[in-house]
């Protein structure tokens, strides 16, 4: 049997279920499940790819590490008094006023120190790793592509069709996105200007089973998809609108995002949009000589911040805020120390941004620790695996079943609450799996920490927002179970705290607020 037949048969047997459900009508299924499905069905994820490796340390500056950053990066460091503080220990690049106010309005969240073990500092390999969501050299499908493959079998042959007339993903510009590469086709449809009508005629050619044949089939499919998707994209963009006045016509990222807003508001059912911003490989002249407030990276930060701010404003004005969320990503951060060319070389982990109205947290994970000694080639060590971020987004945003999510990754993923604020039943402890929880929260004299673990060593510590360790709640091997630890809070100063739970089955961070003292 040829592989394609195998794939077809496999998909017929495993994916036939939703179609049977459809015939039985959804009313037969529980109301709650129906609501879940519909909400997730309408959701849109916008990926903003920062191409070249963004310097996280000059994007989100850990203010508690500033003195050591001065030692490490005397040239590119931003003057302390120009950094926009967003909480007690973190601040944004001075041009990121828009994202700072998004953060204040709970439309922006930050995940600290995202990466993967033993960073590959090749742009190409690391971009593949981030796009594919896999460290395995043999993987060449994207993390979103694999999920699409599970839900939409026989792509691209059988699409578009009556049930799915719209592209599953749209990549703005000229390149399809590797994140959407499926087993056979790439799920992302490229769009330059969605308001342009498209018709590229007819093309059909036979696949004779050779390399040439696969090109013939590919070209024929692209020609027919270009025509078919062109019609729905065009109709949606023309029917849609854009209400924000914040888009800068000279900001190419903003214009792409404005088109995305038009397509969403025009009713396109596309689930994922990808936009790109190039130029982050700042080995030299990251800043203007002698003035770190100007230069390439500053321009990029402004472009990024302004564009995302305008887009979020638009989404809010269009009443789509419950349906649209976004994420930035870049193939790696840069080294802690700068180089003599006013630049920074390839590094490791970096912060990642989520935006939207359904965010679960504000800053997830502790600040990086910067040494006062320059170590050759040192980057920021990874603390949160990017695959955990992907898995959590799939769970929280698209409400994909956890077992299916795990099947997409060659690594035991850990879930953390990222985009759950608009979901139903998030406090339902009866769910098979759940995230660590502190209750009551806010608390006064005492609180409970609840978490699940396997047969493993668990260490849970409370930190204040300056990163100071307050106390250790547990540090021992536990039975596989749901555990609850009661701890006193009456002597804690007022304010926000984080509990950092380390365990092999997945680290978790949970925040709580000490409200008042009795």
């Amino acid at each position: 049997m040829r592989r394609r037949d195998f794939v077809k048969n496999l998909s017929l047997s495993s994916v036939a279920v939703p179609f049977i459900f459809k015939d039985l009508k959804f009313e037969a299924v529980s109301k709650k499940l129906f609501d879940f499905s519909r909400a997730a069905e309408d959701r849109v994820l916008v990926l903003v790819r920062l191409n070249g490796g963004n310097d996280g340390l000059n994007t989100l500056i850990p203010l508690d590490q500033y003195d050591n950053l001065v030692i490490q990066r005397p040239r590119v460091i931003l003057p302390e008094n120009t950094i926009i503080p967003i909480d007690a220990t973190n601040g944004f690049h001075p041009v990121m006023t828009g994202m700072a106010s998004m953060f204040a309005n709970n439309n922006l969240a930050i995940i600290q120190n995202v990466g993967y073990p033993e960073t590959n500092r090749s742009h190409f390999r690391s971009t593949d790793i981030w796009s594919y969501g896999s460290l395995d050299q043999a993987t060449n499908t994207g993390w979103l592509g694999r999920n699409f493959d599970q839900n939409y079998p026989n792509f691209p042959e059988d699409y578009p069709n009556e049930d799915y007339p719209d592209p599953f993903a749209i990549s703005m510009g000229y390149e399809v996105s590797s994140t959407c590469q499926g087993l056979v086709g790439n799920f992302s449809h490229t769009v330059i200007n969605p308001t342009d009508a498209v018709n590229v005629g007819n093309g059909s050619a036979l696949n004779d089973g050779t390399y040439y044949g696969s090109h013939m089939e590919y070209l024929s499919t692209i020609i027919s998809q270009t025509n078919a998707y062109g019609v729905t994209v065009n109709a949606a963009a023309n029917a849609g609108s854009s209400l924000s006045t914040l888009y800068d016509p000279n900001n190419p990222l903003a214009l792409h995002l404005q088109n995305v807003a038009k397509m969403i508001s025009g009713g396109l059912k596309t689930k994922v949009y990808i936009v790109n911003l190039n130029g982050f490989d700042t080995h030299s002249a990251q800043i203007e000589a002698g003035n770190s407030l100007l230069g390439v990276h500053t321009d990029l930060m402004k472009t990024l911040s302004d564009a995302i701010t305008a887009f979020q404003d638009d989404i809010n004005l269009l009443g789509l805020s419950q349906r649209v969320a976004g994420m930035t990503f870049s193939e790696f951060g840069r080294q802690i120390a700068d180089n003599a060319s006013d630049g920074t070389d390839h590094g490791d982990a970096a912060p990642l941004f989520l935006f939207g109205s359904c965010l679960s947290g504000t800053i997830i994970g502790p600040n990086p620790t910067i040494s006062n000694i320059i170590e050759d080639q040192a980057g920021i060590p990874m603390q949160i695996d990017f695959r955990d971020v992907y898995a959590s987004i799939l769970r929280d945003w698209f409400e994909v079943d956890e077992t299916q999510i795990q099947s997409l990754f060659d690594y035991p993923v850990n879930f953390m609450p990222l985009l759950r604020a608009c979901n139903l039943g998030i406090n339902d402890l009866s769910k098979i799996s759940f995230d660590a929880l502190v209750f009551p929260n806010p608390c006064v004299n005492e609180a409970h920490l609840q978490f699940l673990c396997k047969d493993e060593w668990v260490k849970a510590e409370i930190y204040d927002l300056t990163g100071k360790l307050i106390t250790t709640l547990v540090d021992k091997k536990l039975e596989p179970n749901k555990h609850e630890i009661l701890f006193e809070t009456k002597d804690l100063p007022l304010g926000n705290y984080q509990i950092y739970i380390q365990k092999k089955s997945g680290n978790e961070t949970v925040k709580f607020l000490k409200l008042r003292t009795n």
Binding site: N140, D208, T210, Y212, I222
Partner: protein, 539 residues
């Protein structure tokens, strides 16, 4: 669609000289892979001359004249002379205008060379090296020109020497920050790409900072080894040439220890010769030969490096390359004459890149601008920009790894085509075929329909016209239905003899527009349809 894993495997996995049939199909395959669009005549001559003679001709390198000044914005070198050895003006605005003019001149000149390729593989090799040493044009076009001349002179020469020359080339020292790499603060950019992209390539990551063939330690040591090389006289208003030089004060003189992948070799201080010693050490690894052979294979044969191809073709190519001390022409000659190269399974296995696409119909139809040099350059500049819109800006690869289609699994050359690009490709072919072409002051560069038609074997026979078009443009032919459709377009649906009569009237009075225009319109519409077939997109 069929996943690539199960595509039919080649019948021959051997570099043994090909001795099978030598017809138009084989000759056209060789020429489509080595030229930017062969003509019908070139294909016929290759059939007559045979494979060995044709490959020998392809491996000759033409002599080029340097790019010329045609723009009024150039304020140093006079109109019609070359600017490559001229200073820049002192005035800043004039300098920028002059540089812009030189950059345009370089782009136009490059496309003129492709348009006037002759029977030489040379331009295909130059683009190969531009993709391999993928540097953007730098801010002094004299240096950009020098980079391309280096590639031109060594394109069929010695790979090891080319890497050495590239390492201290002024454009590359700017592009990959070598000029800023010094003992006080090493910049790793070039040192990393030298290993990862230029010579040995990265293997799977097998440990922290260990990429099978080299480690982060080697990147760091390499950066130190390469310290001291920097640049001078960029945009100079007194010196006619931007160059590189070695500055001992900037060089790290300590011993540099390489990783176990290079036998823990210690590179001791050798000042301006140290980079060369280091590159010699890198090239002692067989992997360097395999790395470049894989890229040559992808460029000339097929994107799919199956385990079988690895253990046969790539190994054999690498052996040839090493036993000839990294001379490139011999390994290419062997490949182009091999059984595997002509295997039916790899015919048509490459989707044309934008330059191959555009010049497959311009060059195959003898379409050249034949006006004054200023008009010609403006037309070439427009073709240069057009290819940029289609996804391939010569002198501006998208990143240091070159164009995605040559490395990005699993799609490779399919990446040249998506819903954005397919529309632009079809618009571009219609523009040059039926919509009048590139217009410069009323002069037109367009597909040369009648000269192309007149050069076919029996232009008065519509069946034979379609057969000839198929040989020139379609690697694996067309279906009966497609041929019939094209013939219907050519004959306007009339019986074949009507075309024969119409062509005959034109042939006996070729300058009479009353008989020439209808013939030109029919062949134009036929070509326009052919250029939109999936079959035409491959080589």
């Amino acid at each position: 669609m069929i996943p690539d894993q199960e595509i039919e495997i080649p019948i021959s996995l051997s570099l043994t000289p090909y001795t099978g049939v030598w017809t138009g199909a084989e000759a056209a395959h060789l020429l489509r892979r080595t030229l930017f669009g062969p003509t019908f005549q070139q294909i016929n001559e290759a059939v007559t001359n045979g494979m060995n003679e044709t490959v020998a001709q392809l491996l000759t390198i033409p002599i080029y004249n340097p790019p010329l000044t045609v723009s009024v914005n150039e304020s140093v070198s006079p109109f019609g002379t070359t600017w490559v050895d001229s200073v820049y003006p002192t005035d800043l605005i004039q300098r920028q205008n002059t540089e812009n003019a030189r950059r345009d001149s370089l782009g136009a000149w490059q496309f003129e060379l492709i348009n006037k390729q002759g029977l030489s593989i040379h331009q295909k090799m130059c683009l190969f090296w531009q993709n391999h040493f993928a540097a953007e044009s730098t801010f002094d076009s004299r240096a950009t020109y020098d980079y391309h001349m280096l590639i031109y002179s060594q394109s069929l020469g010695n790979f090891k020497q080319l890497v050495k020359d590239i390492t201290i080339n002024p454009s590359i020292l700017v592009f990959l920050n070598g000029a800023q790499n010094n003992v006080f603060s090493p910049n790793e950019n070039y040192a990393r790409e030298l290993l990862e992209l230029y010579t040995i390539g990265k293997g799977p990551q097998i440990g922290e900072g260990d990429y099978t063939n080299y480690t982060e330690q080697d990147v760091q040591a390499g950066a130190k080894i390469l310290t001291g090389w920097t640049i001078q006289n960029f945009l100079s208003d007194t010196v006619t040439d931007a160059s590189s030089y070695f500055e001992p004060i900037l060089h790290d003189t300590t011993d540099k220890t390489l990783s176990a992948h290079f036998g823990n070799a210690v590179v001791s201080n050798a000042n301006e010769n140290e980079y060369s010693n280091y590159i010699d050490i890198i090239f002692q690894q067989e992997e360097c030969a395999k790395f470049i052979c894989r890229k040559l294979y992808r460029w000339f044969v097929n994107y799919d490096l199956t385990p079988d191809v690895e253990t046969t073709i790539i190994n054999d190519m690498a052996t040839t390359l090493i036993s000839n001390n990294y001379e490139i022409s011999l390994v290419i000659e062997e490949l182009l004459k091999s059984e595997h190269f002509y295997d039916i399974s790899v015919r048509g296995s490459i989707i044309k890149n934008p330059i191959e696409y555009l010049f497959s119909f311009l060059n195959s139809t003898h379409s050249k601008p034949l006006f004054d040099i200023s008009t010609n350059y403006q037309m070439y500049l427009q073709t240069y920009w057009l290819c940029g819109s289609l996804g391939m800006s010569y002198h501006q690869p998208p990143n240091v790894g070159g164009w995605y289609a040559y490395y990005q699994a699993p799609n490779y050359s399919k990446l040249w085509i998506n819903s954005s690009y397919i529309k632009l490709r079809f618009d571009a072919s219609s523009y040059l075929t039926i919509w009048g072409g590139i217009d410069v002051n009323g002069n037109k560069l367009a597909v040369n329909h009648l000269i192309f038609l007149d050069g076919l074997s029996v232009p008065s026979d519509p069946v034979q016209v379609i057969e000839d078009l198929t040989i020139v443009f379609c690697p694996k032919g067309l279906t009966v239905l497609e041929k019939a459709t094209l013939k219907t377009i050519l004959t306007n649906g009339l019986p074949d003899f009507e075309w024969t009569v119409q062509y005959g009237e034109y042939a006996s009075d070729p300058t009479n527009p009353l008989v020439a225009t209808p013939v030109r319109q029919r062949i134009a519409l036929t070509l326009d349809s052919l250029f939109k077939l999936p079959e035409f997109q491959t080589i």
